[in-house]
Symmetry: D2
Subunit: 322 residues, 4 copies
C-alpha cells in the first residue's frame, strides 16, 4: 500500500522529478497531532525568540508527531521573509530530533514560494505546507493550482503538504486538483481546514493508491476526520490542550470511539473560541493560562476586549478545562 | 437520560403546552434510516399515486425506521396543499404500521405551517419535519425562528423535527435557536443537511439533557455523523441504495467502524450525484435502475441530458453499485 | 426601435406564440415608478381588504405609473392562492383605470405559475411579474430558467416581466438567460433588485433591439439605474415617499442630474431601513407615519423592537422626512 | 466645502497628527481617471523596467490625472518589497511632474504597511492607496480597520486613500469604518471596487463635510459612480482604452449624460473581460493590441488559452474597439 506507483507517474508525464527521498520507497509518515505554533512577540512587536524556544521546549514534552511552524496561527503574513526562515531555524534547534518540523512556506507567487520552500528546508524543515495562493481568486482554477503546486513540488528538497484553509483564503483547493496533485511523488498530503467531512472522506477514498495523507485542520472535527480516514490533525487548540488532543488521537486510532466522542465534545467550544470566534489573540491569551507564553499579536490584530476574554474563559471552564 | 425535564421546562415559561404524548415519558424514538421519498408524476404531470404506493411497498422491505414524505426530494414546493396531504394519506395506507411516517409540513408562514401540520397529523403522520422559512431571510434571526417553531410545536398534535437545509434555503437554523428549541417538549430532533460535522457534534453535546435527536441529512457524512452522536439519517440515496445504508447504520451502531468506513466511501459519489450535482432528476433516474419508479420531475426541473445520465451512471458503476 | 423583430423571432423557433397584444406593435409601456404594495392584515391576521383599498386610493393620488401587487413586500409567500388572486381583484376595482396593475404571479413550479398568471390576468392584472423559482437552486441554470419563463410567457394572456431578487431568493437570473428571454414577444422587461448597476447597464445595452424595459428594484440606486438606461423603478420606499420618488423620476428623465442627486442621497438610508435592515415590518411601521395603513406582518415576521423603531425613525428624520 | 474641520477632529481625540500638508488647507485633489498600471516582466520573470518606462511614457500622453502603481493589476503580491519600491521610483522618474503618482502600499501587517508607505513616499509617491488586510478576515471588524488605517495615516508622510476590493480580498471595508476614517486629516479618499453604487452614493452623502473623495474602482460603473458623486476612477481598462475613459470622464463632468451613456455601454464588456472574467493576463494581452507592452504574468497566473484569447478579442471587437 505504501509503495509509490512510479511507473504510472512517469506515464502521466510529470516533469523531471528526481529527488531520491520520496521515490526511494515510503513517503514521510505524517500520522499524528501537530500544534501550529504561534509566533511570540515582545512588547516592541519583535519576534521573541526566547519565548519561542521556551514554548517549543514545553510542547516537546507532549507526544505530538511534530510542530507546524507558520501555519495560519503563526501570523506568517505579518513576518518578513527573514523572520519566517529564522523562526524555523530556531524551532529546529530546540525541537527534539524525532519530532517533525513542518514549515508553512506558501507565498502568493510560485517563485517566492519556491525560494521560501528551499530556505525553510535549509533551515531544518522536514516538510513544507503550502497554502493556496488566493489574491487573484478569480483565476485560481484547478489548472492554475496544479501548475503552481507541481512547480513547487518539483523544486522542493523536502516533501510538500497541500494546505486548504477557506476561513483565511476564502477559497478551497478544488477536489480535482487535489486528486491530480496526489500523484506527484513529492506531494505527500493535505491539511484541510474546510470543515467538510464528506470532502475529506472522498479525498481519502480516491487517493488510496497514492499513499496520500490527509490531516484535519481543526480540533473541532478531529474525531470525525479520523473516522473517515484522516491520519492526524494540525490543531490550533494543540497549543493549549495538547495532551487531551493526543489522547483523542490515541482513542481514535485505538478504536475507542465512545470515549473519543466524550473527549471530542469537550474540545469543540474551546477550539471554536480560539479560532473562528476570537482568533489568534484568544489562542495566545489562553496559552498563558496553560503555562505557555502567548503575548500580543502584531497589528492589525487587536487584543481581546474584557468581555471577549471572559467569554473565552467560559468556553474552557464550562467544558472542564479550567 | 430519556426523561423530559418537565419542571425546568415550566420554569422557562413556555406557553400552554398540554399534549400528553411527549410529556408522558419518553419521546418518539427516531433512531434509524429514512428515505425522503420522491413524488412520482405521470406523463401529464399529475401525482401518480399507484407508482407512489408501489414504491412504498418496495421500500417497506428494507429495514428502515420509516419514511420521510415531502422532504426536499419530494418536490413539495411543486405540490398543492391538497396534494401534499393526499400523498401523506396514501403513503400511510400502504406503509406497514411499525414504520414511522415523518411528513414535511413546513410552509413560509407560521399559520400555514400549523394548518399543514395538523392536516398531516390527521392524514397519518407520526411526526412532522418543519423546514426553516427562508424567503425573508434578512429577518429570520434566532428570535424569529424560536417564535415560529414554538408556535408550530405548541399547536402540533404530533412531535416536531426541525429541518435545516442550507443547500435549498440558503440559510442555516442558528445554533442558539436550536439549543433553545430543543427544550420544547414537542420538539424532538433536528434533521441537519448542512454538512457541518462540528455543528452536529456540538448540538448533540449541548442537548444531551434534552433527549434531542439529530439526524444526518445526507448519506455523504452518515458515518461521521454517527461517530459524533447522530442517531440516524434522512438520506436521498436511501431511495436507491436502502440496504447498504441500513448496513452502514448497523455497522456504525455496532461499532464496526473499519467496515463502516469502507462502505461509506463507496456511497459518497453516488450520493453527491443524486443531490448537489444533478438533483432530483438524477435521483429519479437512478431509482429506475434499481427497481423503483422515478419518472420525471415537475418543471422547472429539467430531465438529465445524455451526458449527465452517463456521468450519473458512472458514479454508481465506479463504486461497484452497477 | 420599438418594432418587434417578429421574423427573427420565428427563425429562432419559439413555440406557438399567437397573442395579438404584443406582436401587434409596441409593447406595454412600463416607464415610471411603482410601489410594490403591502398586504394589510387585521388583528386576526386576515387580509384587511378595507385598509388595502384605502391604501390604494391614497397611492392613486401620486403620479405613479401603476402598482405592483405581490412583489416581495406584499408577503405573497404568506398568502393562499385564493388570497393572492383576491388581493389583485380588489386592487383593480379601486385603482384608476389609467394606472397599470402589475401582479406578482411567480410560484416554484412552472405549472402553478401559469395557473396563477392566468388567474391574475383574469382578476385584472395588466402584466405579471414572475420571480425566479429558487428552492432547487442547484439546478436552476440558464437552460432551466429559459424553459420556465418561455412556458409561462407562452401561456400568459398578459405581458411578462422577469423578476430577479437575490436578497430573497439567494440567486440571480443569469445574464445569458435574460438576453435570450428578452427576445420572447411576451416578455417585456425585468425588475432587477440585485443592486448591480453594471449588470443593469449591460442588459439595457444588449437588449436595445428588443424593446426590453429594465426597472430598478430599489430606491437606493434609482438615479444610477436611470443614468444607465433603466426606465423606472419598483421601490418599496414608494409606499411611503411616493411623491419624492416620482420627483426623482422626473428629474432623471428631465436630465436634471444635480438636483436628482441631492434627492437621491436623502432616500438611501430610509430605503435601506425599510428593506435590508428591518424589512417589511419597518415598511409597514413607517407607512403609519405617512398616512397609510401598515399594521402587522404575518408570522414568522416579527414586529420591530422599540430600539429598531427608534433607529428606523431616525433614518427618516435625519434625512429630513420627519 | 473643502476646508477641513480640524477642531472637530481634535475633539474626536485622534492621536498626534501633525503633518502640515493636509491640515494647511485643501486636500490633495484626486479628481480624474487613473490606470492602475501593470508590472511588465521579461521572459525570465524579472521586472522589465524598460518596458515599464515605455508604457508610462505612452500613458502620459493621455489626459489622466495620474497613475496608480501597484493596485491589484500591478501584481504587487508577487513582488518583493524592494521591487515594489523600485517600480514606484522608476515610474516617478519618467512620469511628467503634473501627473499624480498614487502607490499601493498596503501589506497584511500595520507595521509593514507603514514601512512600505514611507518607502513609497520617499520614492516619489504623492499619495498611497492602502488595501484592507484580509488574511485574518474573521477578526477584521470596524474597530480593527479603524485602528489599522489610523496608525498608517498618522505615520504616513503623504495622504492616504482607502482601498476596498472585495473581488480580491473577499471582504469589504465596512461603511462605519469608512465614515470614521474619513474624518482623519490624512485620509483623503476611497477607491471602492465593490460594484455597489448605493454604497458609493451613501459614502459621498455622509462624508460631504469631510472633503472625502470617492474613486470608482472599475470602468464598468464609472458613469453611474459619477452620477452619484464619485470624483473619478481607477480603471484597469484605462491601461488599454485610456482616451475613451477620459472622454467618459469629460462627458460625465460636463453633464452630457446621453453621450456618456453610449460610451459607457461599449466599455462594459471589454472591462469585464480584462478583470473578473480573464484577469490580468487578459489585460496584458489586450495591451499588446493597443500599442503597450503587456507580456506575461508571474505564476501562478496562467497565460490565456487560445479560446480565452478569442473570446477576449471578441469583447473588444463587438463593441467597436478593434
Amino acid at each position: 500500500m505504501f509503495l509509490r506507483r512510479v511507473l504510472s507517474w512517469k506515464c502521466l508525464g510529470w516533469r523531471g522529478f528526481k529527488q531520491g527521498r520520496s521515490i526511494s520507497g515510503r513517503r514521510l509518515d505524517l500520522r499524528g497531532i501537530y500544534p501550529p505554533i504561534v509566533t511570540p512577540f515582545n512588547q516592541k512587536g519583535q519576534v521573541d525568540y526566547q519565548q519561542l524556544e521556551s514554548n517549543v521546549q514545553e510542547l516537546s514534552k507532549i507526544p505530538f508527531r511534530g510542530l507546524v511552524v507558520q501555519g495560519s496561527n503563526g501570523e506568517f503574513v505579518f513576518l518578513t521573509s527573514e523572520e519566517r526562515v529564522e523562526v524555523v531555524r530556531r524551532v529546529r534547534q530546540v525541537l527534539p530530533e524525532e519530532k517533525l518540523l513542518v514549515a508553512g512556506s506558501g507565498c502568493e507567487s510560485t517563485e517566492a514560494t519556491i525560494v521560501m520552500t528551499r530556505n525553510m528546508a535549509e533551515a531544518g524543515a522536514a516538510a513544507v505546507m503550502v497554502i493556496t495562493p488566493c489574491y487573484y481568486r478569480g483565476r485560481m482554477n484547478s489548472t492554475a493550482f496544479i501548475e503552481h503546486y507541481t512547480q513547487v513540488a518539483d523544486a522542493s528538497p523536502v516533501p510538500v503538504v497541500l494546505y486548504s484553509v477557506p476561513g483565511n483564503t476564502a477559497l478551497e483547493l478544488p477536489m480535482d486538483a487535489i486528486l491530480t496533485l496526489a500523484q506527484h511523488p513529492n506531494i505527500i498530503g493535505l491539511k484541510d481546514s474546510g470543515n467538510n467531512i464528506t470532502r475529506i472522506a472522498l479525498i481519502v477514498h480516491k487517493t488510496r493508491n497514492q499513499d496520500f495523507q490527509v490531516l484535519a485542520g481543526s480540533a473541532g472535527y478531529l474525531l470525525a476526520a479520523y473516522s473517515v480516514g484522516a491520519v492526524g490533525g494540525v490543531c490550533a487548540l494543540a497549543n493549549i490542550l495538547g495532551e487531551p488532543l493526543c489522547n483523542l488521537e490515541k482513542l481514535c486510532v485505538g478504536g475507542q470511539w465512545e470515549e473519543a466522542r466524550e473527549l471530542q465534545y469537550r474540545l469543540i467550544e474551546p477550539n471554536t473560541a480560539v479560532t473562528q470566534k476570537f482568533g489568534i489573540a484568544a489562542l495566545k491569551e489562553a496559552m498563558g493560562w496553560f503555562g505557555y507564553y502567548g503575548g500580543l499579536c502584531r497589528a492589525p490584530l487587536l487584543p481581546l476586549t474584557e468581555a471577549e476574554r471572559k467569554d473565552l474563559r467560559n468556553n474552557f471552564a464550562s467544558n472542564g478545562w479550567l
